[in-house]
């Protein structure tokens, strides 16, 4: 157990080190703090003096060590735009993103498991083929396009009048293909509940929840097909295994075989991949938040890019990197705890 922990955690530190080097390189290469601080009007000598004072003439290694030391103390510099510590800015934006990810994850779990299991147990059923077809189409639609279509359908609304309105069925078809709209498609609404620290939650008001619907459905739309396919593929492989046939030979019911024997073995690899996918979801929050103007870290990051707010970009990279590393390490640990065949020594038994 200890060896496993040490191995995983040292690996995490290594990855964090690489990320910090990249972040430092970006800051060093792009950000000229002098420019931001003093503008163009200062003489060359004064600049040099300031450079010395700020340590910008030190060797790269010394500068990196200073950067890393500050980072470890929670100091990643000040945002040019917000004029306050970057971590503070991120802390203000992070809850919105987390709630979006939580909403999307709920949708993914609730739909992917039953659909994946069903289409693995009955691969030939028309419903399974339908789900598989939908998921292929789903994978092919970029997340921002799903978001735009959802806005058109459920926020703006669609009025269809292509069918003749004077006939009953024409009217019915027009109504059938028309949508009401009305769901909010911009921001989080103004009825947020203060939880603690910088966390303003939208989970506790109707308006907050309504604002969450379209963004989290959009974000889920990109992962849901992947999870359905993954669960289906894993489950089908497990169903081929000897121990499933043996479970049948013992005379167990189909329910117990499918939902205990098979599902438990299916979910183990799904947990690992799922954890990695949570990291990937962060990339897609940038797109989703841009479409819905959702005030999370993704939108903040994109705005930082357009404003060339280098410290904020760097801080975002470090924080997102840290989140990735922590989730991946946690997923490994959880996998080790759930799977009895991993003895937590880092090796599979």
């Amino acid at each position: 157990m200890l060896a496993f922990l040490v191995q995983r955690i040292s690996q995490a530190f290594l990855v964090m080190f690489v990320i910090s080097v990249i972040a430092f390189a970006i800051q060093d290469g792009l950000g000229d703090p002098l420019q931001q601080m003093v503008g163009m009007s200062v003489s060359q000598e004064e600049r040099e003096a300031l450079r010395d004072e700020l340590g910008l003439n030190d060797s790269v290694v010394v500068q990196y060590l200073r950067f890393a030391g500050n980072a470890l103390q929670g100091d990643l510099g000040n945002s040019y735009f917000y004029s306050k510590p970057t971590l503070e800015v991120i802390a203000e934006h992070l809850p919105a993103t987390l709630e979006l990810v939580i909403g999307a994850s709920l949708i993914i779990v609730v739909f992917s498991v039953p659909i994946g299991v069903y289409s693995a147990i009955r691969p030939q059923a028309w419903l399974s083929k339908f789900f598989m077809g939908i998921s292929t189409v789903g994978i092919s639609i970029p997340v921002f396009l799903t978001a735009i279509m959802l806005i058109q359908l459920f926020s703006i609304g669609v009025t269809v009048s292509a069918f003749p309105e004077d006939t009953g069925w024409g009217q019915w078809l027009n109504d059938f293909f028309s949508t009401e709209g009305g769901l909010p498609s911009y921001g989080r609404g103004d009825e947020l509940t203060h939880l603690f620290g910088t966390w303003e939650s939208g989970f506790f008001s109707e308006s907050g929840l309504m604002h969450l619907v379209l963004p989290s459905v959009s974000l889920a739309s990109i992962m849901l097909p992947l999870f359905i396919r993954l669960i289906r593929a894993e489950m089908m492989e497990v169903l081929q295994s000897d121990y499933i046939r043996y479970a049948r030979a013992k005379g167990l019911s189909a329910g117990r075989i499918n939902f205990l024997h098979a599902l438990k073995n299916t979910m183990l690899p799904v947990i690992t991949v799922g954890g990695v996918q949570i990291g990937i979801m962060v990339a897609y929050t940038i797109l989703t938040e841009t479409v819905f103007q959702w005030p999370g870290v993704g939108l903040m990051f994109l705005e930082a890019i357009t404003r060339s707010d280098i410290p904020l970009i760097v801080a975002y990279l470090m924080v997102v990197g840290l989140i990735f590393v922590i989730t991946n390490t946690l997923v490994d640990l959880i996998y080790g705890l759930v799977n009895p065949t991993v003895k937590l020594t880092g090796k599979k038994a």
Binding site: V137, S140, P142, Q152, I305
Partner: protein
């Protein structure tokens, strides 16, 4: 020469690939649709009614006209016009061309990188393998899109908007190629590991062939079919990545739009009811990606011998 091509064609017609293609309606339809789109994109300058790059042809009075069949449409613009008064059909044709060029170019680049690193990692093993695959792992766990966004952001910040716009096409090919290489590298490495154990490699070694020769002339040809499958799907992914980057403003500028930047520029007008500016290029993008994915699925099924074991 002619006889050689004829016999190759005959061999292809007798192959399992052709046989299963003929029997798969989805594959045939996807292939036909893809070919039509590729041809339309390649011949966009001939097919398009207007040149969207030519400012002289644009009349702002024509802006936001709906597609044919809707109230207020103009027969000169069958798919309507965008907010600047550009003909949608033309911008979509040119946009598809840009998207396909970037998608194809990015896959060529990532295939080159992926094959090189995959071969090195798989054949040399040891430390080279460990380092390369660790980089690939980290890059994949960060998600290729995230890497592309970061690299794109850095490039944009260092080149400035104007400069970036001019060389955007090459930048995007580079960004997407570099961020997606691990996918192909992993596939190549896995097949190299399997091939390495086979006797012909030992034979080549005994005959004294050099390592690069064994890698590229002996092993590589035997790993081509999985590369082919994954490269197909990667074209679709690259097109999506390009669209995503352009949508975020890190890709093609509006003056030389790809499908993604068309969607982006149209999105601002969706609230005012001009849905076609964003949804028509969106639809083209989805169809393009979908047919490539369907072809990729079909290829994987045909070329993956695992499926025929049971």
């Amino acid at each position: 020469m002619t006889t050689a091509t004829v016999s190759r064609w005959d061999r292809f017609r007798e192959s399992f690939l052709w046989y299963s293609f003929k029997r798969d309606k989805v594959a045939i339809v996807s292939f036909v649709v893809l070919m039509l789109m590729v041809l339309a994109a390649v011949f966009a300058p001939l097919l398009a009614p207007a040149d969207p790059y030519d400012l002289a042809q644009i009349n702002i009075m024509n802006s936001e006209l709906p597609p044919a069949g809707l109230a207020g449409s103009d027969p000169a613009f069958p798919l309507g016009t965008d907010a600047q008064g550009r003909d949608m059909l033309s911008t979509i044709l040119y946009g598809t061309q840009v998207s396909l060029m970037i998608g194809f170019g990015a896959v060529v680049l990532q295939a080159a990188l992926g094959i090189l690193f995959g071969l090195l990692a798989g054949y040399l093993g040891g430390r080279v393998d460990a380092v390369l695959m660790r980089i690939a792992d980290v890059q994949l766990s960060f998600s290729t899109l995230m890497v592309a966004i970061i690299v794109g952001a850095v490039f944009k910040a260092s080149f400035g908007n104007l400069m970036f716009g001019e060389i955007a096409i090459y930048m995007l090919i580079f960004i997407i190629g570099v961020s997606e290489w691990p996918q192909i590298a992993r596939t190549v490495r896995a097949s190299v590991l399997a091939e390495k154990k086979k006797e012909y490699v030992d034979a080549a070694k005994v005959m004294g062939f050099s390592t690069p020769r064994i890698m590229f002339r002996h092993i590589l040809p035997n790993t081509l079919s999985p590369i082919f499958v994954i490269a197909t799907v990667q074209i679709a992914n690259a097109i999506i990545s390009e669209a995503a980057l352009s949508f975020l403003g890190l890709g093609m500028p509006e003056t030389q739009p790809s499908l993604g930047s068309l969607i982006k520029s149209g999105f601002d007008y969706i609230q005012s009811g001009s849905w076609w500016i964003t949804l028509l290029p969106g639809l083209v993008l989805v169809v393009l990606v979908l047919v490539i994915n369907l072809l990729g699925d079909w290829l994987r099924d045909v070329m993956n011998p695992r499926l025929y074991k049971g």
